[in-house]
Symmetry: C2
Subunit: 352 residues, 2 copies
């Protein structure tokens, strides 16, 4: 009896940021966008003929792929879309990292990477970022089964330039390199153009951050036809329709509204710069951010205690109880008003 329990998968899952059900909180803990999605995306949803939801979504989500291809100046065959960039990157791990050597990613980075390695039984090594949280390029110039670099990195907020990626690829012609650009629109430089130069480069992105569509789950990847076709085959061995019809419609409208995109991204960058200056003026060390969040520390205070204090004041930020970064907090850039509330509360806390 109950032998079936021996065959159950035993695994430690990823734990996402806290989703409080409280109202009237200042929510700066999940790197969500403080501004609504493009009015064009909202309109696409309202005007979608919901009666036709009885049909399966468009095969291969083609309209969305076309819109992304057009935005990035690549061909449709170079674009893959999925149910959020987590879905896309997970499929990429499963599709590309089947060698015997360990894959490499930084010790301080997106905490889902080791979870996917455990899920797919992929060996991995985590070269340490330096004391300034910079990725050490030389650590990735050795034999490996694949490389994953988030650029900008999270939660550090630091972006490496395109020459860094070019150098990385020029050494690593024997393994697939994934550059995870979830945050690139907030001040980083995309390396999508290098996809034409390197057939083994996959660049991933998301509509959850700069496009304010976290609730719709849209992620994408851009790469050579060789890589994209493998992603498609693995995806189609799992679930034929991962992006639903409303997400396709809203995603197309969102990416076509360049003006709104540029204006909200600019606002976030301005608020981030203000927030960074104010925090530094209060004695915080704040890393130079190319993202919609800042990573900050303060030698003079117990940062975890500050995190708990802010929570009690209904200001939610993120604290990671992890080696090397347990004296830092990650704070999402909100609206000017939200950031002012945050800064006022921190001022009170620091002043105590």
């Amino acid at each position: 009896m109950n032998n079936w329990k021996n065959n159950l998968r035993n695994i430690e899952p990823y734990v996402p940021g806290e989703q409080s059900k409280e109202k009237n909180i200042v929510k700066l803990n999940a790197n969500e966008n403080p501004y609504p999605p493009s009015p064009m995306a909202v309109k696409a949803i309202k005007e979608y003929c919901a009666d036709s939801l009885r049909f399966y979504p468009p095969a291969d989500a083609t309209p969305l792929k076309q819109a992304i291809a057009s935005f990035y100046g690549v061909n449709v065959e170079n674009v893959f879309v999925g149910n959020g960039s987590d879905d896309v990157i997970a499929l990429a791990f499963q599709s590309f990292f089947n060698g015997s050597e360990p894959i490499l990613f930084p010790d301080i980075t997106y905490s889902f990477y080791p979870v996917w390695c455990r899920l797919f039984n992929i060996d991995y090594e985590t070269p340490a970022v330096d004391d300034n949280f910079r990725i050490v390029l030389d650590d990735y110039k050795k034999s490996n089964g694949g490389i994953v670099i988030p650029n900008p990195n999270a939660p550090t907020s630091i972006c490496e330039n395109i020459d860094f990626v070019d150098d990385l690829l020029s050494f690593n012609s024997d393994s697939v390199v994934i550059i995870d650009e979830a945050y690139v629109d907030f001040g980083g430089v995309s390396c999508v153009e290098l996809v034409k130069k390197y057939e083994n480069l996959l660049v991933t992105g998301t509509f959850s951050k700069s496009r304010s569509l976290a609730g719709l789950r849209i992620g994408f990847a851009i790469g050579s036809k060789a890589l994209i076709s493998v992603l498609e085959a693995v995806k189609n061995s799992y679930n034929s329709y991962t992006v639903d019809s409303l997400s396709v419609a809203a995603g197309v409208a969102s990416i076509n509204d360049r003006e709104y995109f540029n204006s909200t991204v600019s606002k976030i960058i301005n608020t981030r710069n203000y927030m960074t200056n104010q925090l530094r003026a209060m004695g915080f060390e704040v890393l130079d951010s190319s993202t919609n969040f800042v990573f900050a520390s303060n030698k003079n205070i117990d940062i975890k205690d500050m995190f708990e204090y802010l929570k009690s004041k209904k200001v939610f930020i993120r604290y990671f109880d992890l080696p090397r970064i347990n004296n830092y907090v990650r704070i999402t850039v909100g609206t000017d008003r939200e950031v002012q509330i945050l800064l006022d509360e921190i001022k009170k806390y620091v002043g105590d």
Copy 2:
């Protein structure tokens, strides 16, 4: 150079039914519902505050789980939801079938099952259904690594009764049994009540068929807390948010509108009965269907040729060029009008 190509996953994907881009077709090839979703679901989408799509979906899609739990008379901890039932069943394969013995499913069944086995390296055996396309219970009374039975089965349309499932489970206490009830609402009897009796039973369902929401990708599973918690852990090791915010909202509204659900299901059953009688009157063998499609053959005609003829007349049905069933077609039950067009075309073809 290019050694990375050796580590790419090489796999033969599932091929979904043809999605024609032609307008004015009679689309009876994908088992979609001919009626729109519940007006309550449509209203939930139109009235959803799309501005809040900037937030991630509700953690664990809790409102949707609650609505499903309430409909089926189980607890929330007994419900799992995913991005269509393909996502749910794929996760179940990955979560439960990690033993050394082969899993069992019928030789004639949903063609995604062997694809998932290849994806997750699961051994499988396919006991033959009998000459009347009935599943032979005794074939499943042997040592195995798991069992998957679609009930009603597809593409045969035949439903086994609840005693069949009870008998199956009473023998198989050592492996997880999945009953895939994608089509059960059209005349089958759900075995959800057996979940309270058997901790190793998982029942899966979908909003794509009887709830007309194929475009939104909502699937679910009902089972013991032991099984559901493993599904959650594996899901959360892959993608934290698989069901998007609009799908949660529309799904809740859909399942709460029992009246609309009952009325559209009744209409489809009536049309199916009419269609079955008419086809039989024209000399077709039509299996007794408990689904929203019929499985039909005709000794006097070349069925593949009829399938091609109908396609040329813009009437799309499904033909499988597979052993044992290559003289059958699967025809989705449409509206009365669509079915009349189909029958008129078949009459012309048979009369030729």
